[in-house]
Symmetry: C2
Subunit: 311 residues, 2 copies
Amino acid sequence: MPQSEFAVIADIFAPLARTPAALGLKDDVALLKGRKNRVVTTDALIAGVDFFANDPPADIARKALRVNLSDLAAKGAKPEAYLLTLALPKSVTPQWLRAFARGLAADQKEFGIALLGGDMSGTPGPLTISITAFGIADKPILRRGAKPGDIVFVSGTVGDSGGGLAALKARKRHAFLIDRYRIPQPRIALGRKLRGLASAALDVSDGLIADLGHIAEVSKVHIAVEAARIPLSPELCRFWNGDAVRAATAGDDYEIAFTAPRRLRARVLAAARVARTPVTEIGWVMPGRGVALIGPDGKAVDLVRRGWTHF
Amino acid sequence: MPQSEFAVIADIFAPLARTPAALGLKDDVALLKGRKNRVVTTDALIAGVDFFANDPPADIARKALRVNLSDLAAKGAKPEAYLLTLALPKSVTPQWLRAFARGLAADQKEFGIALLGGDMSGTPGPLTISITAFGIADKPILRRGAKPGDIVFVSGTVGDSGGGLAALKARKRHAFLIDRYRIPQPRIALGRKLRGLASAALDVSDGLIADLGHIAEVSKVHIAVEAARIPLSPELCRFWNGDAVRAATAGDDYEIAFTAPRRLRARVLAAARVARTPVTEIGWVMPGRGVALIGPDGKAVDLVRRGWTHF
């Protein structure tokens, strides 16, 4: 595939999505209107691509579910239920599946959701898990609302998951970072509190800079991020020697990146306290297009790699 | 996997689905209640398992969509929209994807539906297409309503798709049967008309006998089918020498098998005429459990293989 998935989606699939509910295929969710307004999202994980086949099965299950719940969280939605599709290689045993289901059960309890249905079949390829998740949201926070003058926030810390992946690949032990890679924390409580405050939001999966690029593109604005303000965990600071550029382009963070009007800053910070989720102000929105990462010298950092792409 | 997928679903996944909307994981759809009541279904197709990797891309797209629309059809639902998840091997080209999208576009027009969103990533394994489809249905026809005294119907003809698959595997040309394998015809109009008439329904994907077994199990009844009454196309009659048992256990038919009270027989047949879809009465519902296929001697046929299982 010589094209990026973004080009393929825009060129080939967006023409198929001529309903307002699809949001032009430019958001992480689609809208299902009704008495209860729902949002729906789908994400697949593939062994060897998105996780290691020998990861603990319960962790694989929880990650597959949580990357979807993270999309709901960033939209301010309350998770409700999910569908599960499994393509299983012959090597998968009932014991493995039971441990996988225990991971789902634990997260169903934690997030108050239920399995609705799904599909299961054998595959000659790698284990592939596709989940479709539903959430209730009356006024979902979309990617398209960022305005010049808004400020940019991100929840939690950035880059830990990328560090965990690097540690696993290098066969280094690093429980904190590897746990951040294996078990994302969907920021449900924060997303709920940001309704009416955030002008645009998404969860960071491709990488902070790449994902803010999605907001910039859909909102038709320029976003500037100060590298020095990107929140790094002490563990990642040591592991990557404080390299914020690497952290901001690593991906798989499942934190919420969002914009809000400057006049709402105090209310955003209060909402984050109530949700017991740290948020950090990292930049601002201007007229223009694209994302700039501003280095310590006040100049834009030249980014070789902006984030994860799928082919 | 030593267990069938049915055992795995019942043992491992049904305990995760303790919401009425999931129908105990015993139907083809789940229910999303609201001002508009929706049904939702998901089915995945895998290259080398559910289709041939060198099938025409537009046909692959249409089959992936239609196996889901067929689930909606059997529930009496009006298709509304769908999500598309693609796991793409490196060999897939943009040209292939464009042809694939043309197949989707043609079917979107035919069925009045739109793409809502999805996910796309690379895979080291075979092309895997997972679709989640939504339909509107106020009173969906479930698997669980068959009653002793009801009669059993099936739409169209049975076994053509299995014949087409056999023809493809034997490298025999047979345009009619191969077309039936590649391009299922979801019986939307019939399903809509059966609301209020059919007591239970599903689409035939695993095989007529196996799928009637699902109705028998969930409805807690016995179903008897007369082999001689199973509708076979003239083409399949020649190809399989009139072997109705083989036809009834082949699968991939995407016809609607349903039950209805005997007193509604005339109304069922009238509804089928309005929907321009032939239906044939093939059996009856009794107290008990399981499915029997009755041979020309009036005795139950001993079935070695009841239908398709996934591992």
